[in-house]
């Protein structure tokens, strides 16, 4: 008997697929191309997801909640030399899944509603909704998967739907190029991910997450630890591709060629976050080395994208680089071990970034497909709804207090500070420093964007005439607010960007429901193979214990850690429970913390000393992080005000003065050029070499063999014609000639035959007698 939540989640998964099937086949026969069907089905999907969310999150409210169901998909039977082998498919619902389900289906639903306004009148209106349907299906599939194999399948499916939707305006060359670029870039990451999956499968003969955790925990990984690190980094490559991390980030800005609601849904809120979600799923099997790689990649991505976003003119490109930057934050957060903070940021970012993209879509719609911020300005009065919602989302993105983004970003930065402290400083401080610097840049470029778009005078008339792209009615229409179908999603998403949705305390996300329900799981990689940083962790934990004696209000985590590390004081019941090895989520942690220390700390309790030390240090660094980030955000916004509002610094002149830097940023660090010169030119060169090899060597061999066979054929044909045919013909000739001679004997007269018989018998008798005598 299947649990009812599982059944509901299967319905949720299949509903968008139904929408896809109905619309892809019948959209031309349905009234309004079937958009009401897609919106209705997605509404139902959201309603059921909300039901699951209500059941799991609101009613359940249990950090250790987990529900799994699976069936044998392919049974290979008893494979010689390996043993019984099956591939299972299944569904796993935990708190994170329930939250992601609700988030994905809500944003997908809102984007559907929004698209009825934004895409109305498009030639392929119905097909657009069909694509949205298959995207939502595959995204929900990723969220619900309980094993690497099915997550890989759905991973490729979201890649496909992303490809289809980026190139939705495929008549434009730029869109067709962008979709190819996105697909190929993603392939690079996916190959790595697949290799990582195969490394794990070769060891454990299973794809299931839980089984892999158990195997690694039990020490069934028989290769050297470097292989586990390699597996982690290879799996992370999938995330690098899908979540547009450095160095595979180049596709995401180009993906803005797709319709803007698609950018909001796929390339801001959900699909690109799938990479982060996936890393969260494999978080516990990552070794320390793999986590370091992840943290540095995330930090580099966050910083690089933020510097690029400063100088872009296209409103969507600024948001795209901002998305890359924020994804970098999430990856950074996972890398430094701030698991729940990173996922919290995933959730908050999904709402405010979707709001920003939909807002930019509204602006583009109202401006008649003008995307260049240089020719905007003064829209705040003409589009008040868009202005207000866009501003709220911007504040959340910039990380101002009272917004959701503030809480999640600060939690990540606190985690990064704690991480750097535990890892012993030095190069590791680069990660929080890059994080804070990116936070400042984020505040700056979003301030710039708000000002360029909404304030000042309209600059539509300043646009050079030769940049008009074919719309003959361009610029003659009055700019006005978008219809309600497009306004409603903005309002909902802006409302979800406010702190109160997530936490009662605007300064501390850890007090909110999310951080309580999605807690950092304990690593399953055995502590003795984590490298020398362990010593630092021991040291920190001891220090923490010392502080504990001084200050009475200390966290439960520290007590547990010090107990676990010293392994002596067995009288502490809770500590012994922790030491006994409750691994994935320490379910006793929350009530215990509440009993002893009020709601001081809700975090999980770790046996792993490194994780415990980081969690502790992150908690310690919460207040400094708030302080630093407020300062850098204030700096960023102040700089934006100085440059764009008060005009103390002229941006054009400054850009001239620091021209190399400006060009470096404006040209996106020249990544496209670098890839063009190396990877693309290189593969073209290899292709040409291979083509030459193919044309000359392979074809030569084939042609040589062909010629040889032809020669042999000619010889064989001659033999056939003269020798074999000659024999056959001679036989026929001989038979004919002898027949002609012999037929003379056949007179047809009965007496002739009789005489012949007589002669023969007589002859025989004579012969007989001659023989005898």
């Amino acid at each position: 008997m299947m649990h009812s939540l599982i059944q509901l989640s299967i319905i949720v998964l299949l509903l968008p697929l139904l929408s896809f099937v109905l619309l892809i086949f019948f959209n031309r026969r349905l009234p309004r191309n079937g958009d009401f069907l897609a919106v209705g089905i997605l509404g139902a999907t959201f309603a059921i997801s909300a039901w699951i969310f209500w059941d799991v999150i609101v009613i359940g409210y249990d950090p250790s909640f987990k529900l799994a169901w699976s069936f044998n998909w392919i049974d290979f039977g008893d494979v010689p030399g390996v043993g019984p082998l099956q591939i299972k498919m299944g569904i796993m619902i935990d708190n994170l899944t329930a939250i992601m389900l609700a988030m994905v289906s809500l944003i997908s639903f809102l984007v559907h509603v929004y698209s009825t306004g934004y895409m109305s009148g498009d030639k392929y209106y119905g097909r657009y909704f069909a694509y949205l349907g298959i995207f939502t299906f595959s995204m929900l599939g990723i969220v619900l998967s309980d094993n690497l194999f099915s997550i890989y399948i759905f991973w490729e499916l979201v890649g496909l739907s992303s490809y289809l939707l980026i190139g939705f305006f495929f008549e434009k060359d730029s869109a067709a190029d962008a979709q190819k670029k996105a697909f190929l870039t993603n392939r690079v990451g996916d190959i790595g991910m697949w290799l990582g999956i195969l490394i794990l499968y070769s060891q454990f003969h299973t794809f299931g997450f839980e089984e892999i955790y158990e195997h690694i925990k039990a020490g069934d990984f028989h290769m050297s630890q470097a292989w586990l690190t390699a597996a982690g980094i290879l799996l992370f490559m999938g995330c690098v591709g899908k979540s547009a991390q450095f160095p595979l980030h180049v596709w995401l800005p180009d993906a803005m060629e797709g319709p803007t609601p698609v950018s909001a849904l796929i390339h801001a809120a959900t699909m690109v976050a799938a990479g982060v979600y996936f890393v969260a799923r494999i978080f516990v099997i990552l070794t320390v080395d793999a986590l370091h790689v992840i943290a540095f990649i995330g930090a580099i991505t966050a910083f690089m994208a933020a510097t690029i976003a400063i100088t872009q003119h296209d409103i969507k490109r600024v948001l795209a680089y901002s998305t890359v930057s924020q994804l970098g934050y999430m990856v950074l957060g996972l890398g430094v071990g701030a698991y729940s903070a990173a996922l919290f940021h995933l959730l908050t970012h999904a709402f405010f970034k979707a709001c920003l993209f939909l807002g930019s879509g509204a602006i583009i719609h109202a401006m008649h497909h003008e995307q260049d911020m240089r020719w905007m300005g003064g829209l705040s009065k003409k589009m008040p709804w868009t202005f207000v919602t866009f501003t709220i989302a911007t504040l959340a993105l910039a990380g101002l207090p009272l917004t959701s983004g503030f809480m999640s970003k600060d939690a990540i930065l606190a985690g990064a500070l704690g991480f750097a402290e535990v890892e012993g400083g030095g190069i590791y401080y680069l990660i929080p420093i890059l994080g804070f610097f990116s936070a400042m840049l984020t505040a700056f470029y979003m301030g710039r964007q708000i000002w360029l778009v909404f304030f000042g005078e309209s600059r539509t008339h300043l646009k050079p005439a030769d940049e008009h792209h074919g719309h003959d009615d361009h610029g003659h229409h009055e700019v006005h607010e978008v219809p309600w179908a497009m306004r409603m999603p903005l309002v909902v998403l802006a409302a979800l960007s406010v702190f109160a949705v997530f936490s009662p305390d605007p300064l501390d996300g850890a007090k909110g429901w999310f951080m309580h329900l999605v807690q950092t799981p304990e690593t399953v990689v055995a502590a003795d193979v984590q490298h020398e940083n362990l010593n630092n962790a021991h040291h920190d934990a001891s220090v923490a214990q010392g502080e504990n004696k001084g200050a009475s209000a200390e966290t439960a985590a520290v007590e547990h850690v010090s107990d676990a590390v010293h392994g002596a004081e067995q009288e502490n019941v809770h500590a012994s429970v922790a030491a006994a090895g409750h691994s994935v989520v320490e379910e006793h942690a929350a009530p215990h913390a509440t009993d002893d220390h009020g709601d001081e700390h809700h975090g999980p309790v770790f046996n792993d000393p490194r994780q415990a030390a980081i969690a502790h240090a992150a908690h310690e660094n919460h207040d400094p992080a708030i302080m630093y980030s407020s300062i850098v955000v204030a700096l960023g916004i102040g700089l934006a005000l100085i440059v764009y509002v008060f005009g103390f610094i002229n941006p054009e002149k400054t850009a001239q003065r620091i021209r190399p830097l400006y060009l470096y940023s404006f040209n996106k660090w020249y990544w496209d050029e670098i890839y063009d010169a190396t990877v693309i030119k290189g593969s073209l060169l290899i292709s040409k070499l291979l083509a030459w090899f193919d044309n000359n060597i392979v074809d030569g061999i084939v042609n040589g063999v062909g010629a040889l066979v032809r020669k042999f054929g000619t010889a064989s044909g001659g033999f056939d014609q003269y020798v074999v045919d000659g024999m056959v013909n001679f036989t026929a000739f001989f038979v004919q000639t002898s027949g002609a001679a012999m037929k003379k004997l056949q007179t047809g007269k009965v007496q002739t035959y009789l005489v012949m018989a007589l002669v023969a018998v007589t002859g025989y008798i004579v012969y007989y007698f001659v023989q005898v005598m």
Binding site: G748, K749, Q751, L754
Partner: protein, 105 residues
């Protein structure tokens, strides 16, 4: 000479051989199908004489029995052969065996 005084086996065999030769001669040279048939009867009877002669000088009844069989056979043969001759006449309007050679080639 003994041959002329007492009648022995050789006399029968000579008669039989003469009869056989006459029969063959009739079969090979006569053109009338009826006469050819009579030649066949002569050959059969030459064989009969042989059978009886050997039977008498061997002292058993096998030759006699065989002779009876040959007579029966000859009767049947004559009946069928005459029927063939009648059909031959119906088809070719002649009983001349030398002019019937439609099987040639």
């Amino acid at each position: 000479m003994d041959f002329f005084n007492t009648i022995g086996l050789n006399h029968y065999l000579v008669i039989s051989a003469i009869l056989f030769g006459l029969g063959l001669f009739a079969i090979v040279t006569r053109k009338n199908a009826i006469v050819v048939l009579m030649g066949v009867e002569l050959v059969l009877n030459a064989a009969n004489i042989n059978l009886l002669a050997f039977s008498k000088y061997n002292g058993g009844m096998e030759g006699v029995m065989f002779g009876l069989f040959v007579i029966v056979l000859a009767a049947a043969e004559a009946a069928i052969a005459l029927a063939i001759v009648i059909n031959m006449y119906k088809t070719f309007n002649t009983v001349d065996v030398s002019s019937i050679d439609s099987m040639k080639e």
